[in-house]
């Protein structure tokens, strides 16, 4: 219990580090970009049965596949969060708002990254009700109803955490709020590509996280305004 508490303290101090003195953009800023691919056996993707919600069936002419292991050409993996896990030199707190939508009984985007205390707005674009239930463990878990036409839910998170999000009424809806202490993060696109920009010279731990394939980390040193390529290979598990 004490250990967990001290860990929370450490996390809090990391989060607090972002809110330091006004940040000046570095003279030379580097970039890390690359691709995330997988080896191993993929889980079988299944079409989502939305028949309980006729509105959502009509919004998808072809059935939507489950989104927990979305892959693309050349074994690329989508929805991998790549972020600076260590070596960050502080940054101004993010003030732009992260938008998260519930549309067609899906979360868009499936994975959203945000900074600690960054404003988050959750919209219901469907002609029916959703309940949005972030299963936070470090932060406070909550569960709110959002009927059709209800205004967006405005919130933010106090601690870094990977928070699974679900809708209890539509149990196939799964998403993630990835709350990070760092401003440097990206989610891989349909070709598995990512780019982290604006990195001052220094040595960084770059971590790739996927909801099913786990995490991998690499050390990268940025010397000046250079672009380094970092690729990750995650191990896919069938279940």
């Amino acid at each position: 219990m004490i250990t967990r508490y001290l860990a929370a303290l450490a996390l809090a101090s990391v989060g607090g580090g972002a809110a330091g003195p006004p940040h000046r953009p570095p003279a030379a800023a580097g970039t890390i970009s690359g691709k995330v691919t997988y080896t191993g056996t993929l889980p079988k993707l299944r079409p989502i049965d939305m028949s309980k919600e006729p509105n959502c069936v009509t919004q998808h002419p072809t059935p939507v596949m489950t989104q927990d292991a979305v892959t693309g050409p050349a074994n690329s993996v989508r929805y991998v969060v790549v972020y600076i896990a260590a070596g960050d030199q502080g940054a101004p707190p993010a003030t732009d708002t992260v938008r998260y939508d519930q549309k067609g009984c899906l979360y868009i985007p499936h994975v959203a990254t945000m900074q600690v205390h960054q404003p988050l707005e959750i919209f219901n674009d469907d002609p029916h009700s959703h309940n949005i239930h972030p299963l936070a463990r470090v932060n406070a878990e909550w569960n709110k109803s959002q009927p059709k036409g209800a205004p967006p839910i405005r919130t933010s998170w106090d601690q870094p955490e990977f928070i699974a999000v679900k809708c209890n009424v539509h149990p196939w809806m799964h998403g993630y709020f990835v709350v990070l202490a760092t401003p440097h993060s990206a989610v891989t696109d349909s070709t598995g590509s990512f780019t982290l920009t604006g990195l001052p010279p220094g040595t960084y731990t770059v971590t790739a996280w996927h909801e099913r394939f786990g995490t991998k980390s690499q050390e990268v040193t940025i010397a000046g305004s250079e672009t380094k390529t970092v690729n990750f290979v995650l191990t896919a598990r069938p279940y």
Binding site: L6, L9, A140, N143, S145, N168
Partner: protein, 284 residues
């Protein structure tokens, strides 16, 4: 062993004070309800005797009986509680926890602990608050305001029925409050354990009390950790009271609401559109 324990508490207490910005607060292990003051140290032996069998020695819901119990015992290390007077996502008040111990949960295996003395119960509340660091980092939420209940009328009940349709309560609780809506069968709680929505037609007490005010509080604050969301962002107080009045008509009980409803329904029932996917709620 003892000096070590004392040292750990000291570190924790210092940390809590730092996190609260040095604000003068009561020690986290002390709780207050009315004129009672609870102490975690006094609650510990009581907890070991009465609670650990299900909730586990470490408060992690891993007691030896837990495997036989459904719904599962509360995991105090998560500090997520269903019956609260405070908004979703906030900690309950000491009074909320005290009330839960006194009342028990009719829908679960948790019995009423009214046989213990009030002092025992407040000591237990103090002790269960030692299992999660959240109690040292955050304070209890502010209880939601509940205006006085207006007298039930047929207009209020019909408006409540419309809200039951529009808020889509029926998707889990079913068109007749039987707990058999289309989403009822694959509901899971925050630990992915299956869970059933409340069946109003059992005529039993509600999970968090028996009164109309308790019912108001249940859906406005939500039952955190369960699929039941909070509605206090969506319903105005007058609407919430209308919904309370309608929900009371589901129960096979002689309530003020059910008398009004049955009298009206016997002559106007056919005018109603049924609740459900095509439903229209109100009397038109």
């Amino acid at each position: 062993m003892r000096p070590q324990t004392r040292w750990m508490w000291l570190v924790t207490a210092c940390g809590a004070v730092l996190l609260l910005g040095g604000a003068a607060t009561a020690p986290a292990q002390e709780t207050h309800v009315g004129s009672l003051t609870g102490h975690a140290a006094s609650g510990k032996p009581l907890y070991t005797r009465y609670c650990a069998g299900c909730h586990g020695d470490d408060g992690d819901a891993q007691g030896e009986n837990a495997q036989w119990i459904d719904p599962k015992p509360r995991d105090f290390t998560m500090a997520t509680f269903k019956c609260r007077s405070t908004p979703s996502g906030s900690l309950p008040t000491d009074q909320d926890l005290f009330n839960s111990l006194e009342r028990g949960f009719v829908t679960t295996n948790m019995p009423s602990w009214v046989a213990l003395t009030p002092q025992n119960r407040i000591d237990l509340v103090s002790y269960i608050k030692t299992f999660s660091p959240r109690w040292r980092k955050a304070q209890a939420g502010k209880p939601i305001a509940i205006p006085p209940e207006p007298a039930p009328t047929i207009q209020s009940i019909l408006h409540g029925r419309e809200l039951f349709q529009r808020m889509e309560c029926w998707k889990c609780h079913g068109p007749a409050g039987h707990g058999d809506g289309p989403s009822a069968h694959d509901l899971t709680d925050n630990k992915d354990n299956p869970i059933r929505p409340y069946d109003f037609q059992t005529g039993s007490r509600f999970m968090c009390g028996t009164t109309n005010e308790d019912l108001y509080r249940i859906f406005m604050t939500g039952l955190d950790g369960s699929p039941m969301p909070s509605f206090d962002d969506q319903l105005k107080p007058a609407e919430a009271w209308d919904l309370v009045h309608f929900l009371r008509t589901f129960q096979p009980l002689q309530t003020r609401e059910s008398v009004i409803w049955r009298t009206w329904f016997s002559t106007h029932g056919r005018e109603l559109k049924p609740i459900g996917p095509e439903g229209g709620g109100g009397g038109q």
